[in-house]
């Protein structure tokens, strides 16, 4: 139930002060999403969405960390 799906913010739709919404693309499926909880999200950001609300902006640098860590281990083993 706490499922959150990553998708790309492609377009802003509404910002009336209380409610902010945008269009997002989830691997080809486009949906309108409430952005009230990620007010600083910009077009092109990847967001995690749960029951129609974006709950976080994915941090690209942090997302790479696990792969960097594994590369490091590989390096150690080869060296």
């Amino acid at each position: 139930m706490c499922l959150g799906i990553p998708g790309e913010l492609t377009e802003m739709i509404l910002d009336d002060g209380l409610i902010k919404t945008g269009k997002m693309n989830f691997g080809g499926i486009v949906k309108e999403v409430n952005l009230s909880y990620t007010p600083e999200a910009k077009v092109g950001d990847y967001l995690i969405v749960h029951v129609g609300f974006a709950i976080s902006i994915i941090d690209e640098k942090e997302a790479m960390k696990v792969f960097d860590y594994l590369k490091e281990i590989d390096g150690l083993e080869l060296g």
């Binding site: 139930m1 706490c2 409430n34 995690i48 029951v51 609300f53 997302a63 696990v66 590989d74």
Partner: protein, 366 residues
Amino acid sequence: MKYLDEYRDRDTVLKLVDEIHKITKQKWTIMEMCGGQTHSIIRYGIDELIPDKIRLVHGPGCPVCVTPIEMIDKALEITAQPNVIFTSFGDMLRVPGSNGDLFSVKAKGGDVRIVYSPMDAVELAKNNPENDVVFFGVGFETTAPANAMSVVAAKSQELKNFSVLISHVLVPPAIEAILQSEKNEVQGFLAAGHVCTIMGYEEYVPLCETYKVPIVVTGFEPVDLLQGILMTIKQLESGQYKVDNQYTRSVSQQGNDPAQKVLQDVFRVVPRKWRGIGEIPMSGWTLTDKYTNFDAEKKFGVIHTTADEPADCISGDILMGHKRPNECSAFGTRCTPENPFGATMVSAEGACAAYYKYHRFQTELA
């Protein structure tokens, strides 16, 4: 899809599995808190890839599973009132109350509708002024901001025909109840990544310190889960117990500030009964006085009943991590997804349903 495929990559998975095998020396029991994590673990066979020395038990983090029977009964009562449109997330429809489920009400012509988001229920209320629209507001901290926003929106639009039946539960008090149980064997936790996306992870620090357990905030994909397990085992093998964060691409220490502000405005903490477990102090949310007009329980004056699971269902022990589904005598025989005894079999995210779907019939030899 970006941010999904790479976290399911086979080579990365195998490297992490290898690392876990290298560092695991002793026997450990770890619990993943969230039903979404349970489902991923069983679906990708993560429990079978890691060393036998690590026992994974499955926590109570499935809101559908822990919503008490009484709440379903209240929902059923509300659907019987005239002019009510009852709205809910789809996964609640098949959960049995003491006398039927929401799906059977719908089948008999009751106006029960599945919504994707609580804001859809607000729209329905706006478009159907002659009906009373009720939304079944279940969930953990992840779902609460969405549910809270529906109430804020209804208030600002002065909608008199919208209300919510709230049954919100909170993760940290459940971890504490598990750790306080005499039968507890859990030595480390994978905390639920999306719950912490909202709440941050500062509230887990005192739990780590008081009970000397590592808690690692973890995501939902195979790479996330394996890295979370690796980080937990590293702490366990070296005698550490602190909060660690695997899911840094979504979770910050302080969490989602705008969401927390709305939560503080809309909800206050109350004791809640958890299905299969019983009452846990200060483990849920209800509406604050400011939003009390949107409380469906008050609006419809529903009665308080109590009800219990069938006697041979051990879902309480499963949700507390004392037992696993295939240790239940009814599992897969008398109790199946078509004829579920307990909520852990009803919900697709329940541990019993996950074991059934992926054919985990064998209990491993002790």
